[in-house]
């Protein structure tokens, strides 16, 4: 196939990313080399620049009432209250009590019940807490945060996905974002636990070379392993 022609179509596609400044260095150079010799592309670029300028200049930041945040916060407080009320009503209903009138009569009994339950949970919490603390030193604490940033360096790739036990090894549900210098990243919120994962780079399954540990996947390749320790809050 004619390489020039192929490149022309490709360049047109890249031009909007070119003006946004999100191309990789290589792509950027490719676009500039092509622009020098192609008038049609230079016109397209000028059009896109005018379009971008038109969109940004026509969009003034509208005035917003200064108390809008407070009003929103008030609505949230109100909802919190309603939700709590509903919770107690439902809880009482589950005890065989219905209607608002009974609430007053039952208050003492429910209070005792709640206190009893709370006491049991408190005791259980203490016990489990102690257990966890003693286990903690043994666990390898690769990450204490629940926000895990996965990163992979591959400048040539078109699409990179993260797959792992946390997303059911589903392909294409966790796309990674291309950043500068061809580093692809995604942040995933993970509950404490042990997870296995891999990257899919343009359809190919790749082991993270920087994985804290790896394990045999059973498919002839290794999965990366990450242990997310519980955060101390």
């Amino acid at each position: 196939m004619n390489r020039e022609k192929l490149d022309h179509q490709g360049i047109i596609e890249l031009l909007s990313l070119y003006i946004k400044g999100t191309l990789t260095e290589q792509e950027h150079e490719r676009v500039e080399a092509h622009l020098a010799g192609c008038e049609a592309c230079r016109n397209e670029l000028e059009f896109l620049q005018d379009l971008q300028a038109a969109v940004t200049t026509m969009t003034e930041i509208p005035t917003v009432s200064p108390n809008l945040l407070e009003r929103t916060a008030d609505r949230i407080r109100e909802r919190n209250r309603v939700v709590q009320e509903k919770f107690w009503k439902r809880w009482l209903a589950s005890l065989g009590v219905d209607g608002d009138t009974v609430v007053v009569r039952l208050r003492v009994r429910t209070a005792i019940a709640i206190a009893g339950i709370a006491l049991v949970f408190f005791g259980l919490g203490l016990f489990l807490g102690q257990q966890l603390l003693s286990d903690r030193s043994v666990e390898d604490q690769v990450a204490t945060s629940k926000e895990i940033l996965f990163a992979y360096h591959t400048p040539q790739a078109e699409a990179v996905y993260l797959v792992g036990s946390f997303n059911g090894w589903q392909v294409e549900v966790t796309p990674m974002e291309r950043g500068r210098e061809g580093i692809w990243t995604v942040t995933v919120a993970l509950e404490p636990g042990r997870y296995e994962y891999m990257f899919i780079v343009d359809g190919e399954w790749v082991t993270d070379p920087n994985a804290p540990r790896t394990a045999d996947s059973g498919f002839g390749v290794k999965n990366g392993i990450i242990n997310v320790a519980g955060s101390e809050m």
């Binding site: 909007s16 946004k20 999100t22 000028e46 059009f47 005018d50 379009l51 971008q52 300028a53 038109a54 969109v55 940004t56 200049t57 026509m58 969009t59 930041i61 509208p62 005035t63 917003v64 009432s65 809008l68 945040l69 009003r71 929103t72 916060a73 609505r75 949230i76 407080r77 909802r79 919190n80 629940k146 926000e147 940033l149 997303n167 549900v173 966790t174 796309p175 974002e177 950043g179 500068r180 990243t185 995604v186 942040t187 995933v188 919120a189």
Partner: protein, 197 residues
């Protein structure tokens, strides 16, 4: 770029903190402040009304607060929040449409638009390329305006826009392609007007 990624981490963290502690108003307020003007731009362009826009900002942020536990970090926080905002704007459109139909039945509205048509023609002669594009853009179907705005103003990628509006990336690209086609024609007309004369 690093700044951008840090902001994105900070926002994810705020959303998770909201999910864990729904009565901490300071966390909510911090997130709210990061989004108020972006959402104001978004809703103002859809509704053209400050009051409606403010209601929608409130409703969007309340949903963010309510559903914070549903945010799973698979997308950028901004994509998630704009997805909610987009669905809110659709609700608003539908409500407007219902009201419009109802009013239409009650009173046959008079057409007041003819009046400023002459003014528009006059203005076209003097306006520059940018104004011409803006005018052409304002006349495009809503979905085309939306995709152009999300891409060029809010700086989302095609994939992110697809996520926000719930269509495939291919469809979003097609919308952009169609929008550009119309706008490019206008641009050519203006840009090379001098050359032909």
């Amino acid at each position: 770029m690093e700044g951008g990624e840090m902001a994105f981490d900070r926002e994810s963290k705020l959303i998770h903190e909201i999910a864990n502690n729904k009565s901490d108003q300071d966390i909510f307020k911090e997130l709210y402040q990061l989004y108020e003007s972006r959402l104001a731009v978004f809703f103002n362009n859809r509704t053209k009304k400050q009051e409606a826009s403010e209601d929608l900002i409130q409703e969007t942020m309340i949903i963010v607060w309510e559903k914070a536990h549903r945010f799973n970090g698979r997308s950028k926080p901004s994509t998630w929040i704009f997805g909610i905002a987009y669905r809110k704007s659709l609700e608003w459109y539908r409500k407007q449409e219902r009201e419009r139909r109802l009013n239409h039945k009650l009173t046959r509205t008079s057409k007041s638009k003819d009046k400023d048509k002459d003014g528009v023609e006059q203005k076209l002669i003097q306006e520059g390329i940018q104004e011409a594009i803006q005018r052409a853009l304002a006349q495009l179907p809503d979905k085309y305006q939306l995709v152009v705005e999300l891409f060029f103003y809010h700086d989302f990628s095609y994939r992110e826009i697809a996520h926000i509006v719930g269509y495939s990336e291919r469809t979003v690209k097609q919308w952009m392609h169609d929008a550009k086609e119309i706008l490019r024609e206008k641009w050519f007309e203006m840009r090379f007007r001098g050359d032909r004369e």
